[in-house]
């Protein structure tokens, strides 16, 4: 297909480039078949399945406790929130009464996971756009949160700390102190992020007006999370369908309307401030009480369908369980946020340059195992 551009009369041929499964900008095994004309992108077609482990098929033979541990490997940057999603679905289905303490701790750990995921995103966003030092500042802050998790849950990335009925074991004695120290530290570092990258004029040129997503497209493409909120669609599950202790905290939803790459960037930075304020409201009054409600060893959900929405760092994760009363679900579907956010990449990347595609993909914050499941 050759296109004759108006001004020039010589023909320009499009050629096909493979931003393949092994590429620094795809953060994982995502293959993009780019049809480009010189530098301008004509078509982006993602080719998925390189890390597809058919988690949904595995869930049909596993018990509910074992399914929780599988969700760590889906969106590994917000693994706590994924665990919480499945546990909430099971607990709501069994109408279990969850102690207040568990709800508060789950919300705190969820918000900490969101901050650590956004720190990694910010570091990698800087690296994708060319500023290599942001990577190390982002990871320095993420390490502090990983230490908090390592001390309380024993693992840094795939925590498996939530179990249906509460938490596997209680929080570590100096968990509260470490979280407070982290908040003090991060409050001085987040303004530094702004001074280093947000204010930078080159960064503005690279991100303003790039990859614009209108509100109607965001809704039609099923986008969720910061990607949709940057285009003005208020879809924060923590606000509209609050779960755990989120109804007891007051925070405002970070919304923007421009919908370009810079707006998505600002929404995530704003979300880090919001998460910190949520943790502050909860960290001092963690109620005393049981850290776990004993459920019988083999959990059997009543017959019926159960759906639970949760706000992960990437967007709205939905767990849809169809149960026929046996020990493992009849059908379990994960509505993954990355999957719909990826489907709009083609729509917003057309016409941009390769540099724009890389910047847009960085703000879509794609985690490929979350897409492939």
């Amino acid at each position: 297909m050759e296109t004759t551009t108006k001004e020039t009369n010589f023909k320009s041929e499009e050629y096909f480039i493979n931003m393949g499964p092994q590429h620094p900008a795809t953060h994982g095994v995502l293959r993009l078949l780019l049809t480009i004309d010189g530098e301008i992108i004509r078509k982006v077609e993602p080719d998925l399945g390189y890390i597809h482990r058919s988690i949904e098929k595995m869930c049909e033979r596993d018990s509910y406790q074992q399914i929780v541990h599988l969700t760590d490997r889906m969106d590994y940057l917000s693994s706590n929130i994924n665990n919480e999603a499945v546990c909430l679905t099971v607990e709501n289905a069994l109408q279990l009464e969850i102690p207040e303490r568990v709800k508060v701790i789950r919300t705190i750990i969820g918000e900490l996971t969101r901050i650590s995921s956004h720190c990694l995103w910010w570091g990698v966003m800087g690296m994708d756009v060319g500023a290599l030092t942001t990577y190390f500042y982002g990871f320095r802050d993420r390490e502090l949160i990983n230490d908090i998790f390592e001390e309380t849950c024993g693992a840094r990335l795939t925590m498996n700390y939530n179990v249906p009925g509460g938490l596997m074991f209680d929080i570590h004695p100096n968990f509260v102190q470490r979280v407070k120290d982290f908040l003090v530290h991060f409050k001085t570092k987040l303004p530094e992020y702004d001074r280093l990258l947000t204010g930078n004029v080159i960064f503005h040129k690279r991100t303003k007006g790039v990859g614009i997503l209108t509100k109607e497209d965001a809704i039609s493409f099923g986008a969720s999370g910061p990607v949709a909120r940057a285009s003005g669609y208020s879809c924060d599950v923590r606000k509209h369908h609050p779960y755990s202790a989120l109804d007891k905290v007051s925070f405002n939803e970070s919304l923007k309307t421009e919908g370009d790459t810079f707006a998505r960037y600002q929404v995530r930075i704003q979300e880090m401030w919001e998460s910190m304020s949520i943790i502050e409201q909860l960290i001092d009054n963690i109620p005393e009480g049981e850290h776990r409600v004993t459920t019988n060893a083999v959990i059997k959900l009543p017959k019926g369908e159960f759906y639970q929405k949760v706000e992960t760092a990437r967007g709205e994760l939905g767990v849809y369980i169809i149960s026929t009363g046996t020990k493992s679900p009849y059908r379990l579907k994960f509505r993954s946020p990355g999957f719909s956010n990826l489907s709009l990449l083609n729509h917003i990347a057309i016409g941009g340059k390769i540099g724009d595609l890389v910047a847009t993909m960085a703000t879509l914050d794609l985690v490929i195992p979350d897409i492939d499941r």
Binding site: E56, G304, L344
Partner: protein
């Protein structure tokens, strides 16, 4: 709008021609679980509501009426379901089916639409890609794992698995001794 109001509204779109008007509908004010489900107005062959076992209103619709119902749900002023957030294929044992979870960004209510096809060799349904753009990828995934074809879908081919993969993994009758480890 609550589930009952939704049900009454959507029920009114498909009047049942031969239904005689029974004395009156007993309104059971208890929890919406035990709502009497005899629809006096709705034509059962096209539409069926049921409530138990799920917190949302479930609508079971016949395949040929699927697209018009979806269009109506999206365009109608009172419902305005413009956010399709979850489209999942399900193998109900005898029949293959697709479950649509719809949410309205204005009224913030959620409805679940289910459609079943009895034929397992060549199941085809209408696509909803023209209503919600997210359906393109979701329907390709359902085709990839269940083999349900969607007519006039932009490019219906396997999304995750390679082209020459035979069989549809998420079906209940899928056999694969290498990868499937049954404990």
């Amino acid at each position: 709008m609550t589930n009952e109001a939704l049900q009454a509204l959507i029920g009114s779109w498909y009047p049942n021609p031969e239904a005689t008007l029974p004395p009156e509908k007993k309104e059971a004010p208890t929890s919406d679980e035990a709502l009497p489900t005899e629809e006096i107005v709705v034509n059962p062959s096209l539409l069926e509501f049921n409530e138990e076992g799920s917190q949302f209103l479930n609508i079971k619709v016949a395949p040929e009426k699927l697209h018009s119902l979806m269009e109506r749900l999206k365009q109608d002023e009172q419902t305005k379901f413009d956010y399709l957030f979850c489209l999942s294929g399900v193998d109900w044992g005898a029949e293959l089916g697709v479950v649509y979870h719809l949410e309205s960004t204005i009224h913030r209510h959620i409805v679940v639409v289910k459609v079943h096809t009895a034929d397992r060799e060549d199941p085809t349904l209408d696509t909803v890609y023209d209503l919600w753009a997210t359906a393109e990828f979701h329907e390709r995934e359902v085709f990839d794992f269940f083999g349900i074809k969607f007519n006039n879908h932009p490019n219906l081919k396997r999304l995750f698995l390679t082209e020459e993969w035979e069989g549809f993994p998420l079906r209940k009758d899928y056999e694969d001794e290498i990868n499937m480890v049954i404990k």
